[in-house]
Symmetry: C2
Subunit: 236 residues, 2 copies
């Protein structure tokens, strides 16, 4: 198919498709006459995956490219690919305001490792997720809410149960390519699914408690269909 | 204290502090001579909360301002404030590629509502989280991984258990201001904590399975300390 048809079928604009081609997120089409290229089903599927990683996974273009590059390395094991997906997700989250040069952070990093060790989890000591956990621990301390960390064991128990399902879902796939997309979607889209379901669970519990407390609760709380949208500034 | 001291104590640069003052995320200091203002502990605490929402919560400046504005509305109930926090989080996630004009999305939105109704959860029919759930459902269908939705009941059970702890943690606070920051941190930082612990749980399960399968697993998988950083492009 031509780029116009690819754009129609994927819902991605032609300038964006050309941008993905330039950045190497999307492999080039087959030459079809001067200034023309022909694309196939694989391009359409790749475009849908890119949009999934960007729109729902919230990945930056750089992070999305990392994941796609890993997908294209046939020698990677499912475990290694998951590691790459984790790296990509965490890359976007790395905070410059926090970091190893800060001795408070170093303490939080040690506490993060200790918390996970206490769970008996098999995690690489250099896992970037431990750095992220240190960021969260340090941040909760800085906003004087270290008590939220008391929920860590419950979070751990809940996510361990889910991880068993998620990882085995991938392992269940026969065909290697299917394993890979399952790992990527399970890691990145699964996080979006979990985060969204969590908000709904919170609304349910909060609405129930609000009624118990006799608070007015005509859905003006956790509902928000009336919220005005705003444009975003950026930090200089 | 002067702005220089506020910058030192908070770790936020002076230009960024001035930007937050301009954008109204940080209330002005007390006048102290020409072109001078004096700041106090409340400014320091607000700055730390802003950084927490931005760095770890991943909120845009617009979304962070929404949350902070809600924090400053004393008449809001905890339930309403949580709703505002949810709106802010979801605002950043709204995808333009997906949306009500798309009839596939409309179907996904109906399925999302049906899934939650089946759980018996008390959720406002207009809750933005249902729109987000529709985005995730539609996206999983587009990348041909609707099977991930089979995990929805497990995700729901896990998050309901956590939400009971999270929401009651806030309800346990006596002082209103404490309730509010607990709601905000519990909603937004709790999501970061959960997402991070989930990655660690996945690494643990994946490493264990990889060993069972006899795959090499010297931490080159889910570890990623060796990953090179890359700069990010943006979609035109």
């Amino acid at each position: 198919m031509r780029i116009g048809e690819l754009s129609r079928d994927s819902g991605v604009t032609i300038p964006t498709i050309k941008y993905y081609l330039r950045e190497g997120l999307l492999p080039p089409g087959a030459p079809a006459g001067r200034n023309q290229a022909s694309y196939d089903q694989s391009h359409l599927e790749r475009l849908r995956l890119i949009r999934a990683l960007r729109d729902v996974g919230g990945l930056s273009v750089t992070a999305a490219k990392e994941v796609l590059d890993a997908l294209d390395e046939p020698e990677l094991s499912a475990h290694e690919l998951m590691g790459r997906a984790h790296q990509a997700v965490l890359r976007d989250r790395g905070s410059d305001a926090l970091g190893p040069e800060d001795h408070e952070w170093t303490r939080a990093r040690a506490d993060a490792a200790a918390e996970i060790a206490q769970l008996g989890w098999r995690v690489d000591p250099d896992a970037p997720a431990l750095d992220q956990l240190a960021d969260v621990i340090l941040t909760l301390r800085r906003v004087n809410r270290p008590d939220l960390l008391n929920l860590l064991p419950q979070y751990a128990a809940a996510t361990l149960g889910l991880a068993n399902q998620e990882v085995r879902l991938a392992a269940a796939d026969r065909e290697p390519a299917a394993v890979m997309t399952t790992v990527v979607t399970g890691t990145i889209l699964g996080e979006a699914l979990l985060a969204t379901v969590r908000l709904l669970a919170q609304e349910h519990v909060s609405a129930t408690l609000a009624e118990e407390r006799g608070e007015g609760c005509e859905g003006d709380g956790a509902s928000g269909s009336d919220a005005a949208s705003g444009s975003d500034g950026e930090t200089p």
